[in-house]
């Protein structure tokens, strides 16, 4: 009787060992398969933390709106504070309550400093002038719009071009530098 019990115990032990061995083998087999077949993450996912179809953002200071941003699409780059904007439209509010409208094909918003870059068919419009250029930078702290490539201004009685421009939203003054050329629509004839 004792022999039969020992035999049964021995069989049980061997079965248990075999079961554990099989389990371990299956586990390692599954892990090896996992390593071979890595699910490819979409390209944007590896670069962008977040992709938004329609972005709206407002910047305020002391309770006053400084600018409002709309963009057709936005991508927040992984590990950086750069948000890549498609077809951005920005309305800047000046100290005197005027508005300056900016549109462009592309833009980049620094989410920490609120500085912006706009490029491609950049147009800046206030109640008197429209300015066109290919590249423009907005410095949020100083509230300056700057362009270091040729700019073209029209509106009011003036049509002009210049090499560079700095527009101060605080003082509502624009400085155009370098080869300022253009036309003024007014009569100047003298007897």
């Amino acid at each position: 009787m004792a022999d039969r019990r020992n035999l049964f115990k021995w069989i049980l032990t061997v079965t248990a060992i075999l079961a554990v061995a099989i389990l371990i083998a299956v586990f390692f087999q599954f892990r090896r398969q996992q390593d071979q077949y890595v699910v490819p993450l979409p390209d944007t996912a590896t670069r962008a933390l977040m992709r938004l179809a329609q972005l709206q953002q407002t910047a305020t200071k002391d309770g006053r709106v400084q600018w409002e941003l709309d963009a057709a699409a936005a991508e927040l780059e992984t590990g950086s504070q750069r948000m890549i904007l498609t077809a951005p439209e920005v309305v800047f509010h000046t100290e005197e309550g005027d508005t300056v409208h900016l549109t462009a094909e592309r833009g980049v918003l620094n989410t920490r400093t609120n500085d912006m870059e706009a490029s491609g068919n950049v147009r800046v419009r206030d109640d008197r002038y429209t300015l066109e250029t290919e590249k423009l930078i907005y410095r949020h702290e100083e509230r300056l719009l700057e362009s270091d490539v040729p700019v073209y201004i029209h509106g009011g009685a003036i049509r002009l071009r210049a090499d560079t421009m700095v527009y101060d939203l605080n003082t509502n003054q624009a400085h155009f530098d370098g080869h300022v050329e253009g036309f003024l629509y007014e009569t100047l004839a003298i007897p």
């Binding site: 008197r128 009685a157 003054q173 624009a174 530098d177 300022v180 007014e186 004839a189």
Partner: protein, 151 residues
Amino acid sequence: EAPASEATDEPIEITADRLISDSTARTAEFVGNVRAVQGQTVIDADRLKIHYRESGGGQEGVDTESVESIEATGRVRITIDNRVAVSDKAVYTTIDKKLVLTGPESRITSGKDTISGSRITFFRETGQLEIVGDDGNQVKATIHSEESGLN
């Protein structure tokens, strides 16, 4: 040579080193090697400041503001046909079409004829010319009989 009336339809062509536009003050100031040309009229100066007024349409469907006055300062030289006006400052006001030259060296030269004073005013509507002197700078004129005169 384009007659004066036709010339006035042309825009003023301006070149300069710099432009400062102030939307609040409604001014646009050209700075550095400034030259403004319209037909037979040429203004050269160190600075040329344009003052706008709100209402009133300009030419070519330009929107609701137009030029109120143009102020040239610093080595001002105005060439009109064959006459040359020189002064420290010149202000042209569009409402009355008047050009006023001021400064001790204000002078107009036409051929060999010259007239100078501390204040010279052109009245475009009437074609009149008014020259005023002051204590240290009386009106002086040099007119050669065969010349056509200054205006």
